[in-house]
Symmetry: C2
Subunit: 394 residues, 2 copies
């Protein structure tokens, strides 16, 4: 992938640093993005003021890093006498000195680091005489927020797998029997766990993994991050929120649908319609140049006009619309930009969720979520899944 590191180079130039250093494993998406490499233990990626990318990795990763990394050079720790430094100074201090030698080798005395750079390493390098300053604009996350067409395609591919998983879940719910108010499938009570298993196996077959899934019925669904458990019940909203990651590319998808089997209450139906109106209003509002805050405000307007609370009308609300409208999605599930009170101007290539919801333990949770890419004059929806309260056997 062609990454555009120019904004990072500008920051280094403006602030007079020789380089930018990331020290993390591949769970840090900035690390993965800038290095073009993945490894389960921490490694170092240096971007110099000239825009060169240099990696420092363990001997274990050296062969693979040489093949896979998107870097001008890859060094192994042994090249900087790592074993000897560890023998003399211990593991922690030895590692610090190895990093310092690697930086010196590339002529770097002064570095900018990301906000999440480890304080132990920052303070340790300072003690070894380097200048270490926090790059406070999160410029790499900002670079990552503007997806290349290749990246948007990866996210779209993950979202397609997500749609297959949602279809499998919806099918289970739609075809379940109703006995004594509970959903029953194949003679057994249909549980949140059973639906999650169906979702996960479907995703696995599409090359995606996921840490967790939300299948939350009734009061469970009214707590937006409750993952849900137990038997699914008729007449109560079931929130299904799936956020898988492609194992190869690392890009996420994200989608939520809410279904009810049997007859929803009039209040649940009304909340579904209000949520849907808020959802459609958000989509209509999105285009390059509009702020994420404006999109969020448009959603709050709809919800407040319908008589429900939001965090805008009451910052300590715990029922109503109690989260933001959306977030960026890419190598992280939650990244820039945000559709929230602090959301800044949207740009072409931003990929964001749109996910208004309404929550109340008495009624259950309602949430509808698509994933879209911002364009010059609107958006392209990366989600093709229909929006309906009543599940279909599809």
């Amino acid at each position: 992938m062609e990454t555009d590191l120019d904004p990072l180079r500008s920051v280094l130039e403006d602030e007079g640093h020789d380089g930018y250093l990331i020290s993390d494993d591949d769970s840090d998406s900035d690390q993965r993005y800038v290095s073009g490499f993945t490894a389960p233990d921490a490694y170092q990626t240096l971007v110099t003021a000239a825009g060169e990318v240099h990696l420092l990795v363990s001997g274990l990763e050296y062969g693979r890093a040489q093949k896979e990394a998107d870097a001008d050079s890859v060094s192994r720790r042994a090249a900087y006498d790592y074993q000897e430094l560890v023998a003399e100074h211990g593991s922690y201090e030895g590692t610090l000195r190895t990093i310092a030698a690697f930086l010196a080798d590339h002529g770097v005395d002064s570095i900018a680091v990301p906000r999440n750079f480890p304080t132990g390493t920052a303070d340790g390098l300072r003690e070894l005489g380097l200048e270490v300053a926090v790059e406070s604009e999160d410029v790499v996350e900002e670079i990552r927020s503007r997806k290349t067409p290749w990246e948007t395609n990866q996210i779209s591919a993950t979202q397609s797998a997500n749609e297959a998983a949602m279809a499998a879940a919806e099918r289970l719910i739609a075809t379940a029997e109703i006995e004594d108010g509970a959903l029953v499938f194949d003679g057994e009570e249909l549980t949140s766990a059973r639906v999650k298993e169906e979702i996960e196996i479907t995703l696995l077959r599409h090359g995606c993994g996921l840490d967790e899934t939300i299948v939350a019925c009734g009061a469970d669904g009214a707590d937006p991050h409750n993952r849900g458990s137990g038997t699914l019940e008729a007449g109560k909203p079931i929130v299904i929120d799936i956020f898988p990651r492609d194992k190869g590319t690392g890009y996420f998808g994200d989608m939520t649908r809410t279904f009810v089997r049997g007859e929803p209450t009039a209040e649940a139906k009304r909340r579904y319609e209000v949520t849907r109106e808020a959802f459609e209003t958000a989509l209509e509002t999105i285009e390059a140049g509009v702020t994420g805050a404006a999109v969020h405000d448009a959603v709050c307007d709809v919800i407040e006009d319908a008589g429900y609370e939001t965090l805008r009308s009451d910052p300590s609300a715990d029922i109503g619309f109690i989260h933001s409208t959306g977030h960026g999605v890419g190598l992280d599930l939650h990244e820039q930009p945000s559709l929230s009170p602090t959301g800044e101007e949207l740009e072409p290539g931003h990929v964001v969720t749109v996910e208004p919801g309404l929550y109340d333990p008495e009624v259950g949770g309602i949430r509808i979520e698509d994933l879209v890419v911002v364009t010059e004059d609107g958006y392209e929806n990366l989600t093709e899944y229909p929006v309906a309260f009543e599940p279909r056997a599809n």
Copy 2:
């Protein structure tokens, strides 16, 4: 779970700090362990010098945190005027000021932080007048390294799921046909991807997830962290390394077996026997009071005596035994203690992998790995899976 935070309190007392602050999401295992809570976005856990645990979470997580966290108190950001501070100072500075207000509320002026504490937050709190020092002994990871019986049981349960997955993989390999040197199952070439899918689906059904699995044949297996791809071949070693995590408890398992279908080369057979001898020597060496370095040395002795290189005999070796003997396993896949040149004294309750290996692209990779808990006079093996080069249809 009863966590013993006394060693952390001692550090705070010795170094004169009012508290210890973790600011991370649940992917940080220290955070998960100390808070007894999980959330996908960063939250703050404060341990005071008196040993009290206080959480600061977003409104979104407040209800769940109150129910689930292992804490003396849970506060939401709104209690410290988060929205107003963000409106006035922006998201980053507003969050910092919210954290500072939370600390002040608990009478904390001076904090110790973990090495991986974000530098942006450390420097930001310093600018707001707090004293922030890195706790350089990694005391929480050290506490976590000594597993309670409950924790060992969780790890053992994950390892049992792992054994079911390994059996499913071994069965595929054992029952495949051999056609033109390739393994063929159900009329299709048996690929690394197909075996991984079998492993993952088996783990899912046991409530475990995993980011990746290694099923690496021939030269792929000679690069210890190459995940493997393509068709599995007869006569070449196939390294299968599975490291699942229980989705509920968060505890990992870890196991490796190496199989060959058809006739291995004489050199591969010899390497298997040497690896197995190294593996058994390591197990015989393990007991409380022995250092991880001594266990690693015992493994290097066996391997070097057999005429192969190790990182001890040649720090830049890229064939032979090119990694350490083992690592701790718990809420992290790689944690303290280590069986490596820097490995310190083993203690009862330490859970470690034992995983010598021999690598050469010409021959392939060989690795054998069990997971054991250290006891006063030896170890208890948490792995019951047989060790054999030839796969069984089990």
